[in-house]
Symmetry: C2
Subunit: 347 residues, 2 copies
């Protein structure tokens, strides 16, 4: 292992001062040709790379952005992340990623620990994408930790705004996806539409559920509690939800699922019980991604524009860091991707 070599040593060996080496490295000021060559030679000789910690300490700025994300393997979050990372890099920032594997019933306050760490690392800004913020009522200690974070740094949160918080909020879920799906299924003739969403108590679910109920109301349809099953976002959850839907005796011909994975799990469960999608049951997903394009049948669903959203998130944060805070609002384009999982009723 090579011992760490410092600017000081580079300076000595190339017969210049530390200041000059530093200036050469940062290009802040022109260095004479002669010295530049000496310096370059010595740097190359030792493969020298400046110590970022020391630099940050001296600069009072780390050029690092923290991002706290509940489940990076979730395609929705992953695509947001990719866009954010790209934009951050272009602006000279390095990303410090914390994947919290947030699960509702988990005891460990992982997110709070990560908030604390981000403060300690003195990152220049933080992006919080979902997680406990999405719970209908986040724990007091979480809220305190988030506020403390917002007090120390520029923070942009993707989720429902919390009153009096020093953070900035951006809430892309307004139930419009459910509305689109509902109208679509309704126009195909479906009147008994079930809803298998994400976890109860989670904001996004509540919003979608509210939209769902409002639509039932609008169309003068009865709201059947038995047609609502809330679970989680994985295939196994869709599977379980579909089973429980079938156990109840309330009839239904169509299902709105929280995302593609849930829809795929449900298709599997229906199939296992002898029902076919879309012939017996239609199913559509609130959150389309590539998994739904290769399943059998392909899952019809709402494709959200993560490209735009990711960009908006990082841009907002960068603006915050630069102090030119300015509230933006954008209509998120989302479109219906049609597979074969829905079918006109009664044909």
């Amino acid at each position: 292992m090579k011992e760490n070599i410092t600017i000081k040593q580079i300076a000595q060996e190339s017969n210049v001062s530390m200041a000059t080496v530093s200036r050469y490295l940062n290009g802040t000021v022109t260095v004479s040709d002669e010295k530049r060559q000496q310096i370059e030679a010595v740097i190359a000789k030792y493969n020298f790379t400046p110590n970022t910690n020391a630099r940050s300490l001296s600069l009072g700025r780390t050029m690092t952005l923290g991002i706290v994300i509940p489940d990076i393997s979730n395609p929705y979050f992953y695509s947001l992340f990719l866009e954010i990372q790209k934009e951050a890099t272009l602006n000279g920032y390095t990303i410090l990623l914390y994947n919290t594997s947030f699960q509702q019933n988990r005891k460990e306050p992982e997110e709070e620990e990560y908030f604390q760490k981000l403060i300690q690392y003195r990152v220049d800004g933080v992006l919080v994408l979902g997680g406990q913020i999405d719970l209908a009522s986040p724990s007091p200690s979480y809220l305190q930790a988030l506020n403390r974070l917002g007090d120390s740094l520029p923070v942009v949160v993707m989720g429902h705004p919390i009153p009096e918080s020093p953070c900035h909020f951006l809430d892309p879920e307004n139930g419009s996806g459910v509305t689109t799906l509902f109208h679509y299924l309704y126009s195909l003739g479906h009147r008994n539409i079930a809803f298998i969403g994400g976890n109860a108590g989670v904001r996004i679910t509540e919003t979608r559920l509210a939209a769902y109920k409002k639509l039932l109301d609008l169309h003068r349809l009865d709201s059947q509690p038995d047609l609502v099953v809330l679970t989680d976002y994985y295939s196994q959850d869709g599977y379980q939800a579909a089973l429980s839907l079938m156990e109840k005796s309330c009839p239904f011909t169509a299902v709105i699922a929280a995302n593609d994975n849930v829809a795929i799990g449900a298709i599997r469960a229906f199939g296992d019980k002898g029902f076919s999608v879309p012939y017996d049951i239609s199913i559509a997903s609130c959150d389309h991604f590539s998994a739904g394009e290769y399943s059998i049948p392909r899952v019809t669903g709402i494709a959200r524009d993560t490209y735009l959203l990711g960009r908006l998130l990082i841009d907002t944060l960068l603006q915050n860091i630069r102090g030119t805070s300015e509230d933006i609002s954008i209509d998120f384009s989302s479109s219906l991707w049609e597979g074969e999982s829905c079918r006109t009723l009664g044909k």
Copy 2:
């Protein structure tokens, strides 16, 4: 935004020296009750958190581990990551994650940049999981960057060993999965077995392909070049591969796919052309994960023990950091998970 407060200010306001505050924070030495209380009060008042950069600088150690991973959304890598993160945290390390979104034909040398950054950040150790190292012949500049990384820090690489490298290598792929699948399909009566693997030129693919060819040989079966299609690891690749398999006139009754996603894409393609899995064609996956458990039909495949592997990787790195380097070798348990995508031939 709160201005940053330092140990010095805490010390002044609680009438002790900086040294005492530092000692209190790190618990290195007992501090008298009286002073401790003063200090605690002032810290609470300001919500003070020590600056990690300064700490690292002074300590010459960052308690940070770098991990470079080609695609964290890939379930295989994600499960490795979760295990690694858990173990690292338990040992007091924070993870700096770089997702390279490595793609073979990409021009940008992302990985090399990240190696450089990790050196600059003076992380205490690095884990490189796949990526360009998996190419049959990584570029010279990549190798140089990797070696430079290994020269500066303890580095553990998951991938095929490179001679003379200062890094440690751990190569979990030996083709045994393909062997298991082949025997399984053979025992079901299949003799015309196709292989749709990951990218050509990638080590893991070559290893699996070599195993595949050796098995054909062993069973005295003809090796048909038309039955081998190399693409990538996503569903769309499986889809394309299956199409191209059907275009050729070489008959086959079974397919070994690189992973579940590829298998699912292939099933889709066969279906689109009027063939049913498993009735017309059997298909099995080298890398089983949950996606294959909910597809229709469920995909039979090799489940690799990522729990064990992740643990081995991080343990090896930690040992390296502690200087107690010791080569371990473990047999990776992998087991056959049976779905419904394979069927006895001719019944």
